[in-house]
């Protein structure tokens, strides 16, 4: 399968990429790792008239530790997230989620920026970025703006990014106190995408009660979401089996649960509760 014909421009700087997008209008597409866009173009599900290749931009690469946050640039490939000692140290769940994406070849090319902007309902990284309260940095014609993860994912393949904007990096506040994390995924047996993926961050008080729990869920709804009701049910409680069971009863509150050939709505909601409980147990154990 060959994509429909298009024009191709390789940007030599972020500024040039922004200019090319501005001149080309809303139909043009950025090309990062190409691991979502090219398959769609080969199937002619996308036929952009122009691709602006940002793949080689050094200014969109790298992982930077700052005073109280880790900034991960848009073009960081999944393989680098999975292999980075810095990421494993600060956010073990991010390294784990990245290591479980697709396969080695996909991880070598696919990028965090592309994964978040593509926003497949079964993508792994949105759940993690939600649980870590990542802040998504966008550069556009009007300058820079920062969107909190929870305001970024709007629907299947739909985010808050506007035409002409480029995701430059994601800023993750470092975890404090007695905090543990986990990412638990039920991969689709054929595609590897998450049928259900739950990212959990649990911070415990000195007496062992839950000070804060944050839960990001992917695969279950039309877009990744924070399971706020489940989080609230845990706050201030000892994270024992009954508290976790009561919390995960709220795993899909307010969410329109996907059903498909592989997993009906009912089964998917069940998987979601099951994986959320597992993620919470792991996060609590890691915090303790």
């Amino acid at each position: 399968m060959i994509p429909a014909a298009f024009d191709y421009a390789r940007a030599s700087s972020l500024e040039e990429a922004l200019r090319l997008l501005r001149e080309a209008g809303p139909e043009a597409k950025l090309l990062a790792g190409g691991q979502s866009l090219l398959p769609m173009m080969k199937l002619r599900l996308a036929e952009p008239p122009l691709l602006v290749d940002i793949g080689g931009l050094a200014e969109l690469s790298g992982i930077r530790l700052e005073a109280n946050e880790l900034a991960i640039a848009a073009l960081t490939p999944h393989a680098e997230l999975a292999g980075s000692a810095q990421v494993a140290e600060a956010f073990p769940l991010l390294a784990r989620a990245a290591a479980g994406i697709g396969d080695l070849q996909v991880r070598n090319l696919g990028t965090i920026g592309g994964n978040l902007v593509h926003a497949d309902p079964g993508s792994d990284l949105p759940a993690v970025v939600l649980a870590l309260e990542g802040r998504i940095v966008l550069r556009g014609p009007a300058g820079e703006r920062v969107v909190p993860a929870e305001a970024f994912f709007l629907g299947p393949l739909t985010t808050a990014i506007e035409p002409g904007e480029i995701l430059t990096e994601v800023r993750f506040p470092l975890l404090e106190g007695r905090t543990g994390t986990a990412y638990v995924k039920h991969p689709h047996p054929a595609s590897g995408y998450a049928v259900v993926g739950v990212a959990a961050v649990a911070r415990l008080a000195p007496d062992g009660r839950v000070e804060e729990a944050r839960l990001g869920v992917t695969g279950v709804g039309l877009h990744a979401y924070r399971a706020r009701a489940a989080e609230a049910a845990l706050r201030g409680r000892r994270p024992d089996a009954s508290a976790i069971e009561e919390a995960v009863a709220h795993a899909t509150d307010g969410v329109e649960v996907n059903g498909d050939l592989y997993a009906s709505e009912e089964f998917r909601a069940h998987l979601c509760r099951h994986h959320m409980a597992q993620a919470l147990r792991e996060a609590v154990a890691a915090a303790a």
Partner: protein, 186 residues
């Protein structure tokens, strides 16, 4: 509209003209005549088309030829040459020799991709466990062997590479070969 693509292939400078929509695998096979790289599924699933791009395994059916401009590509035809002659087994890369000896192939269609992914894997993990090999080759499908002998072949190759002290089979060696061909320092 066609454009000229210049890159390093198997350590040698190469160029050819391609439409922007030309996939790297077709550029390698049809323009450069390197038919060792296969097209299996054409939908990013099977890994038969895997080559090394700057030393890392990628699916060449999911990469545009223009994206490889200025970069170093290694195909199965150039795999053995990544190693110094003394680390080869009768002229073959130890992975190739081990697939042969351990019956890691039947029809052979998936083999070039398996070899290239395994090369990347061994450059990261010189002594992988069976589970790590299976995990590493997740993106490569084989319809014949049942994988058992593929895993055995990768283990044997890993052993021989370690014994020869040739750690870098993929990554660094491929980068160095590319840089040398472009006249630069690795």
């Amino acid at each position: 509209m066609e454009v000229t693509v210049r890159l390093t292939v198997n350590g040698q400078p190469a160029e050819g003209s391609a439409e922007p929509r030309t996939l790297l695998v077709h550029f390698l096979r049809d323009t450069l005549g390197l038919t060792g790289t296969h097209v299996g599924c054409d939908t990013s699933q099977c890994g038969a088309c895997t080559v090394l791009l700057d030393g890392r395994a990628v699916k060449s059916c999911t990469l545009l030829a223009v994206q490889a401009e200025g970069r170093a590509v290694t195909t199965v035809e150039g795999l053995a040459a990544l190693l110094p002659p003394e680390a080869r087994v009768e002229g073959l890369h130890p992975l190739q020799a081990a697939f042969w000896e351990k019956h890691g192939l039947q029809c052979g269609f998936c083999t070039p991709g398996m070899l290239m992914t395994a090369a990347d894997l061994l450059s990261r993990k010189p002594d992988p466990s069976e589970a790590e090999i299976r995990e590493g080759l997740e993106g490569n499908l084989c319809r014949c062997t049942g994988y058992q002998n593929i895993v055995a072949a990768v283990r044997l190759a890993a052993e021989r590479l370690r014994a020869a002290g040739a750690a870098a089979v993929g990554g660094e060696a491929a980068l160095a070969a590319g840089a040398a061909a472009q006249g630069g320092a690795p």
